[in-house]
Amino acid sequence: MTALTGTNAAPRRSFRLGTLEMNEVGLLVILALLYVGFGSTTNGFISANNQLSILRDGASIAIAAWAVTLIIIAGEIDVSVGPMVAFTSVCLAFLLQGHVPVLLAIVAALAIGGALGTIAGILRAYFGMPSFVATLGLWSALRGLAFFSTNALPVTFPDNDFLDSLADEWLGIPASAVIMLVLFAVFTFISRKTAYGRSVFAIGGNASAAELCGIPVARIRVLLFTTSGAMAALAGVLLTARLGSGNAGTASGLEFDVIAAVVIGGTSLSGGRGSMLGTLLGVFVITLIGNGLVLRGINPFFQEVVRGVIIVVAVLANTLVTRVREARRGLR
């Protein structure tokens, strides 16, 4: 009666290095093309220094993007990332200005980010407000609050060794990149191996079926936004360390880089599908394009155009590849 075809059952699922998803292969190809293209035409693109700079730039997008990937997999969206980073950076700077111990100040900044995210989550989960609207409210309010409380001036604070070390390199790698990679491992693990992570996939794939399974859908939705707020705050802490001050205008438009990276990475905006590895590759695509165009000295306004086109083309290529694959597999 059982039709488990025993032999090939176990090994394919476990850990796939040799079996990357089709879109992930596609992204690797795109990355390779970008490296070849910029490497052969742009001086200094391949240099070690520039590679570190790419890592550092990628880190602030990526740290926020891990949590946003989970949110999008759950069929939600968070557009508040940029202002959240700016606001928590201002908060941290004020706390340090007031001589709060640095660790305490960082924890407080993370808590503030988490709490603000929780508000959006509660609005979504318990009041049925679309997450786009809830986070759009935060987007506007937080940026405004950051400017209002600082009069649009940088908030300076006394020099601080711990914060400096966060802006520094650890073993030759930017600290922010190390943190990003550690979090990548953590989020990959969460999304693949924990009940929480799999519940997120279940909710994104079919929320009402997840509910009928007894999965606490509302609680998980809140937690997703809490995490996203806290991760944006962490990006804010790292940015504050790098800039040496709190800036209300920082991270402008970061939310779009984050969402673009997640979507380029193959995570479906309709939920249920996506991976951290895809997002990681998506982050690098976005960062490489930005970095390469700057090095080439392209007009900054035109850079935006190129970026827009490349994002759309990457996602289109991804969609087409997925469609071909599903047609071949006989899925609808």
């Binding site: 059982t2 488990l4 075809t5 699922r13 009940a195 079919n206 009928l212 597999r329 899925l331």
Partner: protein, 505 residues
């Protein structure tokens, strides 16, 4: 009034005629040399079990399907088109159908809905005045006093159904098909619908009324066509036909039942429901479910079986009554807590509410209780696979791997996994809403076997099905729901399809 409906048809030119129509689908003969005709102003009931060929006959009339043999004439003209062209042709000749799923746009006004997609306009600007005037005429023609500018979302279900009917009157209908029009209505609202149907008939429009509620059919239809196994079993005058006669026509004489159940068993009471009210469909329900028992709920479409199950499960608001599980009053507990107390529920719409389509079979099973395969929230892959494999083997789920996305499996295998999920979660009380809907015959038999096994292992099952023939196969006891209450009880081995159907109608 003539003695039989065929006599009516002889005298007046029929508005629609089907001659010798045969339609084959892969593996099924859906229609077998069917003849059908209906006269202007006639209200004809159309009856038959699931799969008897009613829907195919309707699809022939609306042009949604072409017959393999035979022809369809509307107003004396044969339908000749194919594909979407045929539907348009039938529509132009005056065929209109109102289906069970309402297709109105709630956020738009009645008038806008009536003319959906064909809004009267002048120079590209909507002519609201004309639209309102014509809407008022159409609504008035049905005896409806509704303001056309009201939004559909403010209407009651009955009013929505009537607006849906009003919509088919825009244009010049000759024949209107109503598919189970009262299934979403409360009893009091049915009279409104009848009034509208009588107006249609008085205006010379032929009405085909698909329903199984004999009480309603007797009020509204003069004649009834009964279908069975793709054939017309007969057309009778409703006034002269006993319900038992119609039941016999629907079931045929050779209805053979394979009884899996020998005697009604009964252990300790595990679930007790008292005075349960869940408006508008459930009006006071009492019953007990015993350990090791399979209890069937029978009733017509829309009678409130699903609403009752959802009330018991804690998924629908309950206005009165108590639900007691294993001696504990759970009336105030939400669904998720009842699940932890040993409840399992499989919904009737497997695809929309049952499966997690993108996840593997294994995860679809363990999602019902992650704690059995996790330590500190981390899933143990070997334990997950082992647990899932156990269920896959026990339920006979055909899948290439334990991790195959469940969306790629057949309906029957999906359903087995959805039931298996609760076995994995050690649920002792299972509420199965239409577990055999949309699965093939072999899978049905397997699901019956699974349900009996569950009962034998001491679990208790409530089995809801609109296919009455199934109930004698699996149930120890069957309760018949009608107008919000249980009106009859049957005990194995004395559960007969005919008796059940007579009690339902």
């Amino acid at each position: 009034m003539s003695r039989s409906s065929t006599a009516v048809i002889d005298r007046v030119a029929p508005v629609a005629t089907v001659h010798g129509a045969t339609k084959r689908y892969p593996g099924v003969l859906a229609l077998d040399n069917v003849a059908f005709s209906i006269a202007p102003g006639e209200v004809r009931a159309l009856l038959g079990k699931n799969g008897a060929g009613k829907s195919t006959l309707i699809r022939l009339l609306t042009g949604a399907t072409e017959p393999d043999d035979g022809e369809v004439l509307i107003g004396g003209r044969a339908l000749t088109g194919s594909g979407p062209q045929r539907t348009i042709e039938a529509g132009r000749l005056g065929v209109r159908a109102v289906y069970q799923e309402l297709s109105l746009i709630p956020s738009m006004s009645i008038a806008e809905n009536l003319f959906l997609g064909h809004w009267p306009s002048r120079g590209g600007v909507l002519a609201h005045g004309e639209m309102d005037r014509r809407s008022r005429e159409t609504l008035g023609g049905l005896g409806l006093d509704l303001d056309p500018s009201r939004k559909v979302e403010t209407l009651s279900p009955a009013e929505r159904q009537l607006v849906e009917i009003a919509r088919v009157l825009v244009g010049e209908p000759k024949i209107v098909i109503l598919d189970e029009p009262t299934s979403s209505l409360a009893a009091a609202e049915v009279e409104l619908l009848f009034k509208a149907v009588r107006k249609l008939a008085a205006a010379g429009i032929a009405v085909i009324y698909v329903s199984h509620r004999m009480a309603e059919i007797r009020q509204i239809a003069a004649s009834a066509t009964v279908m069975r196994d793709g054939k017309v079993a007969g057309t009778v005058e409703v006034a002269g036909a006993a319900t038992s006669e119609i039941v016999r026509m629907m079931l045929g004489h050779d209805a053979q039942e394979e009884h899996l159940v020998e005697t009604a068993l009964g252990g300790a009471v595990v679930l007790e429901v008292a005075g349960l009210v869940s408006r508008p469909k459930v009006a006071g329900v009492d019953f007990v479910l015993r350990r090791g028992e399979v209890l069937g709920f029978a009733g017509l479409l829309g009678v409130g079986r699903t609403e009752l199950l959802r009330g018991i499960a804690g998924l629908a608001p309950v206005q009165a009554g108590t639900v007691t599980m294993n001696g504990r009053d759970v009336t105030a507990l939400p669904y998720a807590r009842r699940v932890r107390e040993g409840l399992g529920f499989t919904p009737e719409s497997r695809k929309e509410d049952g499966i997690l389509p993108l996840l593997g079979v294994d995860e679809n099973i363990v999602a019902a209780d992650f704690s059995k395969v996790t330590a500190f929230g981390v899933i143990s892959a070997p334990r997950k696979t082992a647990m899932a494999r156990g269920i896959i083997e026990r339920m006979g789920i055909k899948t290439a791997r334990t991790g195959t996305p469940i969306g790629t499996l057949s309906g029957g295998n999906q359903q087995k996994a959805v039931i298996g999920r609760w076995i994995y979660a050690d649920a002792t009380i299972l509420l199965l809403d239409e577990p055999t809907r949309g699965v093939d015959v072999e899978a049905k038999l397997q699901i019956y076997g699974i349900i009996r096994d569950l009962a034998a292992s001491g679990r208790s099952v409530i089995f809801v099905s609109s296919e009455l023939e199934e109930l004698p196969n699996v149930c120890d006891r069957v309760l018949v729901l009608k107008e919000g209450r249980f009106v009859a009880e049957f005990l194995a081995p004395d559960i007969r399809t005919e008796g059940l159907m007579a009690a339902c109608l």
